[in-house]
Symmetry: C2
Subunit: 136 residues, 2 copies
Amino acid sequence: MQTEEEILKIKKVKNTAVRTVVLRHLLSLEKAQSLKDIENALPYMDRSSIFRTLKTFEENKVIHSIEDGSGMTKYAVCAEGCNCDPKDLHYHFYCTNCDKTFCLFDVPIPNIQLPKNFKLQQANMVVKGLCDNCNR
Amino acid sequence: MQTEEEILKIKKVKNTAVRTVVLRHLLSLEKAQSLKDIENALPYMDRSSIFRTLKTFEENKVIHSIEDGSGMTKYAVCAEGCNCDPKDLHYHFYCTNCDKTFCLFDVPIPNIQLPKNFKLQQANMVVKGLCDNCNR
DNA sequence: TAATCTTTGCAATCGAGTTGCGGTAAATGC
DNA sequence: GCATTTACCGCAACTCGATTGCAAAGATTA
């Protein structure tokens, strides 16, 4: 497991207090977080600073964003070696009961045969249902 | 091809002027539309009436909604016989150049092997890239 | 017909996301 | 080391899509 400092160094993002704290927070959780989630968890931090940090992280592929249909964009730390291109795609699972979003790194995404002359750049694949904790 | 009236009757949605116009409009276009798109196309209609109509349609499975990552929910008429359950899933293609969203009814969605005890209810599968018109 | 329920139009509100700006800190040039 | 430039941060304000309250109009039922 890489530390915050290592990740930022590899991804060429300058290390600052805000960035370290936000990244450490994201690393400590196994589920994708919304801006609001992070705000609530780190109440002493400024909303817009977190926002801009997330944008910086996303641009530099430290994290990836997920539109899970909850109305709030969520963010999760990229896996080691991820370049956020189509080969790094994975499903996201959104639990309609507890509103949590998981990265399903272990579920392979098959080749998608697009219509003629369509070009794949990336994808947002969200599967919705009940997570193991809510499916009882 | 079913008429608006037939569709509303089958889906047990009471027929009104607003509903007929909105549904006819959606049927006349091959691409998914946002609330704003519809508002712009039907300027004499009230925003909230269109909004509530879309909600009613969605509840009664006349249309389905798509989160394509553009920031605006888009809507498209369900195919005949669609029940909006997992078997009716299809990919959506979002063109990052022209901002249009297509339903890819002809591209099959493979079985997704979820982790143990996860239950699939529905999914939002958006593939992004360039459509044939923009990929030149 | 009267009472009730649904739909519609208008205006107001909500909330996630975003931006402007001044201040501070870090990096760069001399 | 000091001045200059650049990047980052915190605060407040704003944008805009989505949603709701309310009253009037229309449809349905008793």
